[in-house]
């Protein structure tokens, strides 16, 4: 049970959160202007590293805010150096 630092509520148990996958996957500003391939890359392609990953979480059972954390997917450790911040992008 990870302890996930919500930037609004502080550290809370993992079960209060919803996972949102990779962060910083920008939705193209004008979707109609991008190629089918680029659009498919935005929709379907995500990194899945063993190691440090920047990812999105939503505090669904708390403040309902989305935010971004950096986590080591191998150790499940949230990296304190970066801390957490408000979410920047959406992924689906």
């Amino acid at each position: 049970m990870m302890l996930i630092p919500c930037p609004w509520c502080g550290p809370r148990n993992e079960i209060e959160f919803h996972y949102g996958g990779q962060a910083d996957v920008r939705c193209p500003a004008d979707p109609q202007a991008v190629s089918d391939e680029d659009w498919a890359t935005f929709l379907f392609f995500r990194d899945n590293p063993k190691g440090v990953f920047t990812e999105r979480w939503s505090h669904v059972a708390g403040c309902r805010r989305w935010f971004t954390v950096r986590r080591d997917t191998d150790s499940n450790r949230v990296l304190p150096s970066e801390g957490t911040q408000q979410a920047r992008t959406v992924t689906t």
Partner: protein
């Protein structure tokens, strides 16, 4: 012969509280404080179980959770399988029998209650032996919030069974005083009988507390988040591998010492002690002093400790140096040990043999630190050459190990390292902690041990009776076979041989098996490492993990304001997410089909009423609400006028249908949107996601108001008259109250919002009142509708009615691969908007294909047939050889009162181009013919909508 092997005095049993129990039909007596194992030994019972693969007799090997052999089935007070006799407390009425490896689950309902506790602490100390208690003292005195958990019935760990002294007094005195002081601290919680079995991320530890059959709950799971953890989990003694090392009467030396000192039980009369290290000498001395004849101490080392040798000489105990036990005899109990000279380390043994008669063989191959929790927490281990075992070697968690688990075995060092760990942990948690003073202990010099993995010159050269893992009946022969098959790492050998996978998870066999594998491979033990340690440390029942979250409390149940009325009317319920929704209301003698046909007929010909309060409702407010909704719905919502309602489809960015519902514009900057009953939470999360992360410039707030409103659908040609009677102020005429508009007004004297929307094709009104008034208004409408034969109906009728109109249900007729165009709902997709979620994806080559699966209707040729939902659709009447190409599947299927036949909705490849074709659906053992139709079966022109 009761308690023939019980000493006249001593031990920590309560001789004033004798208990009677039953073992395999034998009535036996023990005392409060006994385990089943100690009580059996007191009565001379050594053979307890039968091994699971070879059916060999097995006895009691250990005195704790590491026991690999003595598994019992408890029958009373409540049936429980596979418990080690060494961890079962005896009590009056206990009934148990030995097991051949496998147990039997209870067939009756468990009457006991199981609980869960959630807690936080500054310092969690796991283990209350000398190190754990010293750690707890240092931490507790600083004022830190401390939890001390230990699996045993009382604190003290090894001190309870070693008979040693601290500060010149019995060590158990120090244990008692320390425990008493800890109990005085207001911030300290002591948890005896509590096994910490799991260590997860961020210092989250889970423990199981055995509270006993008379407690308010039988077991409790503790879920603990600790700032700092001290692991004082001790060490398990390691057996030795030789031929016939599994017979009853072969016991770990330290465990034998525990039986004598803690339980006042002699585990035999005539003992041989076989050791590779100093620790077994204390057992030899204690057993001798208690009256056991020690016929020989067999030490694998060339040079033995002068300290221990002199104690043996005083007692006339003979020591055989450079000697090993290579095999044993006996059937249900060991009768003799066979000794052989081992020669110097590394050299081949000579074969001088001597047979020694005995009824007890104590073994000690050294000690394995219990690194399980440390490793579960992803701490690393290293092989410590001095003790021949793996010890903790750093961790990223806020944790430290202390005492025997670190490889220090002398009590004094355990106490000191514990006190330091407790102080350090409390300091790390922010407390001003000092080192607690620890008592003085007598410190015998420790002579280096010899690491002996397989005793050379063992009796059987093929290794088939040299047991490595007794619980799994796995032998040296099995390890050799695994290595010969090419396995060269411990994880592979473990899976090939099953070593370490039994109930005990290899507590005694883990390091031993690594040693044996290393020897067979000819590599160093440290190079091989350990297998992965996983939770749980000891077995945990599902009942304990479930706690009270079972039966009615398994999941929250959501009910509407009218729920009790539905129950009173005999409704059957359907689960929709956590909601209980009325499914149908059978009259007496009606089956489901009859009831649903009656309800459908009533709605189409007169008037019916459904509780639709469970539909999700989200209040969307803000100056940019219109722009926001234009982005999340496929159709345009900004053009909707206040007072009007529009049906809306939502897609995810990949263009697939995500949810649907109505959008009601209640004010210039305010909308009320509805969602499917099961999708409400996901829709809110989806909207928040885009609002918070992509469209941060939009000034919009979302609030779930599902439970603010009780919602009643009043449906059917007579609905207007019923509403007019109950809400005389309301203008219910078609001209004054058009389709897809809403009005506010009194309904049954309650302020309501009434909407003209229909999910059945019939004239219909949706009445929303504050939740509190739901049942009151429902009942007034029921009474007002009685002259018109008003009929309550449930979700099944609703499904039939909407399917007759070809209205899809998101999540039933769609599955995340269906676009609005696939549904034939291009009319709900705006061509004017620059962008909305899903738009870009509609032009992707795959999404734009014309042969995608389309929603169509199906009419079986056999009008009596109702196709099963999920049935496949194929092209040909003969299936032929598999694989048979599938065209699609049935998504909804019912019997229709107005059609007088079965009908279905289905998604079929290129379906819209197949209208009129005959396709086939395999039902039972043959494909049945079905005709493809438009998805609308009833009132295609929509004439019934306005009444």
């Amino acid at each position: 012969m009761s308690n023939e092997f019980r000493l006249a005095d001593g031990g920590r049993i309560d001789r004033d509280r004798p208990v009677r129990f039953d073992f395999e039909g034998q009535q036996l007596q023990g005392y409060a404080g006994d385990t089943l194992a100690s009580a059996l030994l007191a009565n001379g019972v050594h053979r307890v179980a039968t091994s699971n693969k070879y059916g060999r007799p097995r006895g009691i090997m250990a005195a704790g959770a590491e026991e690999p052999n003595a598994l019992v089935q408890v029958e009373a007070p409540f049936p429980e399988p596979m418990l080690p006799a060494t961890t079962v407390e005896v009590r009056d009425g206990l009934q148990a029998s030995g097991l051949p490896g496998k147990g039997r689950l209870a067939t009756e309902e468990d009457p006991a209650r199981y609980d869960t506790m959630h807690t936080h602490c500054d310092v969690l100390v796991v283990g209350a032996g000398p190190a754990g208690l010293a750690a707890a003292l240092s931490a507790a005195r600083s004022g830190a919030r401390v939890i001390v958990a230990d699996a045993d019935t009382e604190f003290g760990g090894s001190l309870l069974g070693s008979g040693q002294t601290l500060d010149g007094r019995a060590a158990t005195d120090w244990v008692r005083r320390t425990t008493a002081e800890l109990a005085e601290h207001p911030e300290v919680r002591l948890l005896p009988r509590t096994t910490v079995f799991g260590y997860y991320e961020d210092n989250y530890l889970v423990a199981l507390e055995h509270r006993g059959d008379d407690a308010s709950s039988r077991q409790r799971i503790w879920r603990m988040r600790a700032r700092e953890v001290v692991l004082a989990t001790g060490a398990h003694e390691r057996p030795l591998v030789f031929s016939g090392n599994d017979r009853p009467g072969i016991m770990l030396a330290g465990s034998a010492r525990t039986y004598v000192n803690r339980y006042a039980v002699l585990p035999g009369r005539r003992a041989v002690v076989f050791t590779t290290n100093d620790s077994a000498y204390a057992a030899a001395i204690d057993l001798h002093d208690a009256g056991v004849e020690i016929v020989a101490v067999v030490d694998a080392r060339e040079v033995v400790s002068t300290y221990w040798a002199s104690l043996c000489v005083e007692r006339g105990i003979r020591i055989h140096a450079s000697t090993g036990v290579v095999s044993t005899s006996g059937t249900d109990r060991i009768t003799s040990a066979h000794l052989s000279s081992l020669g110097p380390e590394g050299n081949h043994p000579t074969s001088v043999r001597q047979v020694v008669t005995c009824d007890l063989l104590l073994v000690s191959g050294g000690w394995n630190p219990a690194v399980h929790l440390h490793s579960q927490a992803r701490g690393s281990v290293r092989f410590a050459e001095d003790i021949g075992a793996f010890v903790p070697d750093g961790t990223d968690q806020a944790a430290r190990s202390a005492g025997a688990v670190t490889g220090v075995l002398a009590t004094g060092k355990c106490l000191t390292s514990g006190a330091e760990a407790g102080r350090d942990a409390a300091r790390a948690a922010g407390f001003d902690a000092e080192l607690a003073r620890v008592p003085d202990s007598k410190h015998a010099p420790i002579l280096a041990a010899r690491h002996l993995w397989v005793v050379p010159g063992s009796g059987d050269s093929d290794g088939t009776t040299q047991f490595v893992d007794l619980a799994r009946d796995a032998t040296v022969a099995d390890v050799r076979r695994a290595v010969a098959a090419g396995m060269d790492n411990v994880e592979h050998v473990k899976r090939y041989t099953t070593i370490g996978t039994a109930h005990d998870q290899g507590k005694t066999s883990g390091t031993l098996s690594t040693g044996v594998i290393a020897e067979v491979l000819g590599v160093g033990v440290g190079e091989l490492g350990t297998t992965t340690f996983r939770a749980p440390y000891t077995p945990v029942t599902f009942a304990a993990l479930a706690g009270r979250e079972r039966g009615d409390l398994y999941d929250p149940v959501r009910v509407t304001a009218m729920h009790d009325w539905h129950v009173e009317q005999g409704a059957l319920f359907e689960n929709v997410g956590q909601w209980k929704r009325p499914w149908y209301y059978p009259h007496s003698g009606e089956d489901m089909e009859t009831a649903v046909l009656r309800e459908c007929y009533a709605v189409r010909s007169g008037v019916g009423m459904q509780d639709v309060s469970t539909l999700g409702k989200i209040d969307v407010q803000g100056p940019d609400a219109a722009e926001f909704l234009d982005l999340v719905y496929t159709n345009k919502m900004s053009t909707l006028k206040v007072g009007r309602i529009r049906y809306g489809l939502m897609c995810t960015a990949d263009g697939m249908v995500f949810d649907d519902g109505t959008v009601t514009r209640t004010a210039e900057h305010r909308y009320l949107i509805s969602t499917t009953s099961g999708g409400a939470a996901n829709v809110l999360a989806h909207l928040e996601d885009w609002l918070q992360t992509e469209w941060t410039h939009l000034r919009v707030h979302l609030t779930s108001v599902t439970e603010h409103w009780a919602t009643i659908a009043l449906v059917g040609p007579e609905s207007r008259q019923v509403l007019a009677d109950v809400a005389p102020e309301l203008d219910v005429d078609n001209d004054g109250f058009g389709f897809m508009t809403w009005q506010e007004g009194n309904v049954a004297g309650v302020h309501a919002r009434v909407c003209r929307i229909s999910f059945s094709g019939e004239l219909a009104f949706e009445i929303n009142v504050p939740w509190w008034y739901g049942r009151e208004v429902w009942e007034v409408l029921m009474a007002g509708g009685r002259p018109y034969g008003i009929t309550p109906y449930g979700t099944e009728t609703m499904h039939v009615l909407r399917a007759e109109k070809g209205f899809p249900i998101v999540g039933q007729d769609t599955d995340g691969t269906i676009t609005p165009h696939d549904l034939g709902m291009s009319w709900a997709v705006s061509k004017k908007k620059d962008d909305f979620l899903g738009k870009r994806s509609f032009s992707r080559p795959d999404t734009a294909r014309t042969d995608r699966k389309h929603l169509v209707g199906l009419l079986p040729e056999d009008t009596n047939l109702v196709l099963p939902e999920g049935a496949q659709i194929v092209e040909q009447p003969e299936l032929g050889e598999p694989p048979v190409p599938m065209l699609g599947h049935v998504t909804s299927s019912y019997r229709s009162a107005v059609l007088g036949s079965g009908f279905a909705l289905a998604v079929v490849k290129g379906g819209r181009d197949r209208v009129g074709e005959t396709l086939y659906s395999p039902v039972g053992d043959r494909p049945v013919p079905v005709t493809v139709t438009e998805p609308v079966f009833y009132d295609k022109e929509g004439a019934r909508r306005d009444g």
